[in-house]
């Protein structure tokens, strides 16, 4: 069996526009005065056709509209895309179609439209349940807006998740404990809880480099917040299934699992990445990043940049990086087939240190190991 089949096959669609740029965000998102959604529709459809021709006959497990802010897409555009998707691949019985939504760009009517188009799961960028913090994160919405949007989403979709960013400026452990408590009481069955990462090239990054952005938690406080997060979520019946993702068992994001389980995914839209196994080669694909340039390329028949063929070593590293993020860990047999499994001595040493465990053919990071996962991976990959 081809390795990717262990993870499945998904489709990622990138919508690169937002109402404003958040100061912490390093996603490929742009603010545009106006967007000709009809033109974008044609481009997306053309790209779907192109990738579809290469992956004919595959069963599609998931579709994910990410961004940017895909909730700014016209429901008609989403509908047209999903219609083309259905006519291109074979749909899995439990097809998951997620759309990322910003609480500021929501009205009940649009959500109905997305639902009718075929979206069956929404992931909302709530980010914080404190107005003061939303303001400091540069968000356009209030807590009240977020709650209203969330209620609407829940009334329309069975599966609704939301995101919070913690380890923010001047956030105490107690603050986070109570905010998370409230979030858990709201949550349906899935939560993404990210520690704030200050990325280079963002407004936050610049401020930090200039000596600003005071009051970020120390590593120790960050670690304590992470531990509290694990405990509270676990107690609420939504344990971590990945470093930053929590769900009731069975409610995990299937699309994201494709990434972590080393499945194949097609990436369509500006800056979208993909992994496609075609014949003997696993390709890493990436599309042109700038919206206008992508549009022109896609209209000319090829929105991607030149593809890269991955070596087995690269595939193994990637499986290690992604697989260990999952609580269930990775399958050693798959790594071994890539001829680059970590040395038994390394595994033994890290096991003795309590960082990993190897049972029934699966290599997992322990709770202690997961919080220093980058070091664990570096040690294993060395």
């Amino acid at each position: 069996m081809e390795d990717w089949r262990n993870g499945g096959f998904g489709l990622y669609l990138h919508w690169p526009f937002c109402q404003s740029k958040c100061p912490y965000c390093d996603f490929n998102s742009h603010v545009a005065a106006s967007v000709d959604q009809k033109r974008w529709e044609m481009a997306f459809l053309a790209e779907i056709d192109r990738i579809g021709a290469e992956t004919q006959g595959r069963v599609l497990n998931t579709v994910f509209f990410g961004g940017g802010t895909p909730s700014l897409m016209d429901p008609e555009l989403v509908a047209a895309i999903l219609e083309r998707v259905r006519s291109t691949w074979i749909m899995a019985n439990d097809l998951e179609v997620t759309l990322e939504a910003n609480p500021g760009s929501v009205e009940a009517g649009r959500f109905r439209g997305f639902s009718e188009a075929g979206v069956n799961r929404v992931s909302m960028g709530v980010q914080s349940l404190q107005d003061e913090h939303l303001r400091r994160l540069g968000r356009l919405h209030s807590v009240a807006d977020a709650k209203r949007a969330f209620d609407i989403a829940r009334s329309v979709f069975d599966r609704v998740s939301f995101d919070l960013i913690y380890a923010r400026q001047d956030q105490t452990l107690d603050d986070w404990r109570s905010e998370l408590g409230e979030a858990l009481s709201m949550a349906v069955d899935h939560l993404s809880l990210y520690q704030l990462t200050v990325e280079d090239g963002t407004a936050f990054g610049d401020r930090l480099a200039r000596g600003g952005l005071k009051g970020l938690p120390s590593d120790d406080l960050g670690a304590d917040m992470y531990a509290v997060t694990q405990d509270l979520c676990e107690a609420a019946g939504m344990p971590a299934y990945e470093v930053s993702n929590h769900a009731r068992p069975g409610a995990e994001s299937r699309h994201n699992r494709i990434y972590w389980q080393g499945g194949d995914y097609a990436g369509i839209g500006p800056g979208a990445h993909g992994r496609l196994t075609l014949g003997d080669v696993r390709w890493a694909t990436v599309a042109e990043r700038m919206p206008d340039a992508w549009l022109t390329r896609a209209e000319a028949g090829f929105g991607e940049l030149p593809r890269e063929a991955m070596t087995v070593g690269e595939q193994a590293d990637e499986y290690l990086i992604m697989g260990l993020r999952l609580s269930e860990g990775l399958e050693m047999a798959r790594l071994e087939r890539m001829q680059t499994a970590p040395a038994p001595a390394k595994i033994e040493e890290l096991t003795r240190m309590g960082m990993i465990e190897l049972t029934q053919g699966r290599l997992r990071a322990t709770a202690e190991g997961r919080i220093v996962l980058n070091s664990v991976i570096a040690a294993l990959a060395a």
Partner: protein
């Protein structure tokens, strides 16, 4: 061929920055030795490093023709000597080639430690001395006070000191006249067998080895076959010249004259400074009193940052050593730093100069281990061993006692900083020997261990006196003391490159500084790491680097996979620059910083 009484040979002695090079430039310029358009500031400092730092490292020489007021034209040979203590040895040997000195003192600063050290060498060499007060253009100049100081501190008559501004050129004609009228002419016998002193030698990319000589007796001519009396080697003279300061060929050099020769000599190492050159046939039997070669006193390890550069480093060191006989080296291996060389230097500046040249001229990145002095180990079996590297310290049960080099340090400092200086010297195990005043400046003489001076002494001195102190030293003797080897252990593994010899009483302090520094420099690991300083089996300082608490990427989706993979590749490449001590990886930068000598 010049009449003896029309020759004056001299050097200029001065504390650094008092204007020695500027004065030399003026003398060259005013006598038209170098055409105006070819003048560049500091004509005689030719090495890049000398020019950049404005210090003279190698002695240089220039021949000046000067039409004096008495109507005669004189040949003035100036040998520009190095000012720094590391090269005191070179100073002393170049002084033996001349009969007089200009003592340059900055009239706004007064006598400094190097003024003293250098003038005493000139006096030792029997020189006539003409005091010159420089920088009198400065508002802060106090020529009268400085004159009095020269008389009080040095004991020289300064009533006829020549006031000048080397910068503006004021007073330069008076200096030229004083050279002619107040310095003695050389002596020598033109008809005696050839006797010439080998003053210096260096390598020139076009000419090969160039030898500077001072003729004492006899005449040397182009084409002569000459013998180096110490080495016994015989050469035919290819070229004979004087330096103006560029080479100008000359058919012969007679008594009292200074010049250079080339003779197909392969390496500077083939020449001995202080050797006597005579004719192969009908030569002299009595050589000039020789010099003993300069001994390296400071040692350190030089390792390539990139292990692949080892061969390149070997090459570069060999090449440099060919032309610097005072620099020694031998191969060394370190668990921490891999393959490198243990090198010996005349002092810290010499060390820096060599390291700079290796890095600059040979494009190498180097790690320098902590400088150490040469200890003498008196073994129980009566043997006496030199210890150049603390890592080679034998088991103490075989050692009867250990001796270390002591220096006599002269420090001149404005009153208000005296207390700080005394404390600094006391902290460095110094023993006060003398304290006197010259105006508002104090002069203290301390007996100090050299080992304490190579360890950031200059820096401390500069910082506690805001740069107002001056310092000079000579090595005095070896003396026994309570010395021990201190090892550094990281996660219970000894790190060889960090071990050092210290005085027992200072070990705790030094150990504490080192473990604290390392705690900052070693990145956190997944486990906690004890960092210890120990003497034998006894821990004297300890820090614990706590385990890393968080190192995980919060968000990692499909779009991040490539980026994360590239990051991992970088980490893997980074690991190659790490040194493994047991389970601990120490980045090379940590060694570089921990060993950074604060000089």
């Amino acid at each position: 061929m010049t009449q003896l009484d029309r020759i004056r040979n001299f050097s200029i002695v001065a504390h650094i920055d008092h204007g020695k090079s500027t004065l030399a430039d003026r003398l060259i310029q005013m006598t038209g030795t170098v055409a105006e358009r070819d003048m560049k500031a500091q004509m005689l400092d030719s090495m890049d490093i000398e020019r950049e730092r404005g210090i003279t490292i190698k002695a240089n020489t220039v021949r000046i023709e000067y039409p004096a007021k008495d109507g005669n034209t004189y040949i003035l040979n100036l040998i520009d000597t190095p000012g720094h203590v590391d090269f005191a040895y070179e100073v002393s040997r170049s002084m033996r080639a001349v009969e007089g000195s200009l003592l340059v003192v900055d009239a706004s600063q007064g006598v400094e430690a190097q003024t003293l050290a250098n003038v005493y060498q000139a006096l030792d060499a029997g020189h006539e001395i003409v005091p010159v007060l420089n920088k009198i253009d400065l508002p802060a100049a106090e020529p009268d006070r400085v004159k009095a100081q020269i008389e009080d501190v040095i004991g020289l008559d300064a009533s006829d000191a020549v006031p000048i501004s080397a910068k503006s050129g004021m007073g330069i004609p008076d200096v030229l006249e004083a050279i002619v009228t107040r310095l003695p002419s050389p002596k020598g016998d033109r008809d005696a067998p050839l006797k010439a002193m080998l003053v210096d030698s260096w390598y020139d990319a076009y000419l090969g080895v160039v030898v500077m000589i001072r003729v004492m007796d006899g005449v040397i001519r182009k084409g002569d076959r000459v013998k180096m009396m110490q080495t016994g080697a015989v050469y035919g003279i290819d070229r004979l010249a004087v330096l103006k300061p560029q080479m100008v060929d000359i058919p012969e050099l007679g008594p009292g004259e200074i010049g250079v020769l080339t003779a197909s000599i392969k390496q500077v190492r083939d020449t001995r400074v202080g050797d006597t050159i005579t004719h192969e046939r009908k030569g002299t039997d009595t050589p000039l009193p020789g010099f003993k070669p300069a001994q390296p006193v400071v040692f350190c390890g030089l390792f390539p940052v990139d292990a692949n550069d080892f061969e390149a480093l070997r090459d570069a060191i060999e090449k440099l050593a060919l032309n610097d006989a005072s620099f020694s080296y031998e191969m060394e291996t370190s668990a921490a730093l891999g393959f490198g060389f243990r090198c010996g230097f005349l002092g810290l500046l010499h060390l820096e100069v060599i390291r700079d040249r290796l890095e600059r001229e040979y494009d190498l990145d180097l790690i320098t281990t902590a400088p150490s002095v040469v200890f003498k180990l008196h073994m129980k079996d009566g043997e006496v061993r030199d210890l150049h590297n603390p890592a080679d310290m034998p088991d103490l049960t075989y050692v009867e006692h250990i001796e270390e080099p002591r220096i006599k340090a002269t420090i001149m400092v404005p009153d208000e900083y005296l207390g700080d200086i005394l404390k600094l010297c006391q902290d460095r195990r110094g023993i006060q020997q003398d304290l006197s005043y010259a105006g508002s400046r104090a002069m203290v003489v301390y007996d100090l261990p050299l080992a304490e001076v190579v360890f950031d002494f200059y820096d401390r001195l500069k910082s506690v006196t805001k740069g107002y102190a001056s310092f000079d030293y000579t090595i005095s003797e070896y003396r026994e003391d309570n010395l021990v080897k201190m090892s550094i252990l990281v996660n219970d593994e000894p790190v060889d490159a960090l071990s050092m010899m210290v005085h027992r009483d200072r070990a705790e302090t030094r150990g504490r500084v080192m473990v604290e520094k390392l705690k900052e420099l070693i990145p956190r690991h997944m486990f906690k790491i004890p960092i210890q300083a120990a003497i034998g089996g006894r821990v004297i300082a300890r820090e614990t680097l706590s385990a890393m608490r968080k190192d995980v990427t919060a968000k990692c989706y499909g779009g991040d996979a490539s980026r994360k993979r590239k990051l991992l590749d970088k980490q893997k490449a980074g690991k190659k620059k790490m040194r493994q001590f047991g389970k601990v990886e120490i980045p090379q930068e940590a060694f570089i910083s921990a060993l950074k000598m604060d000089s």
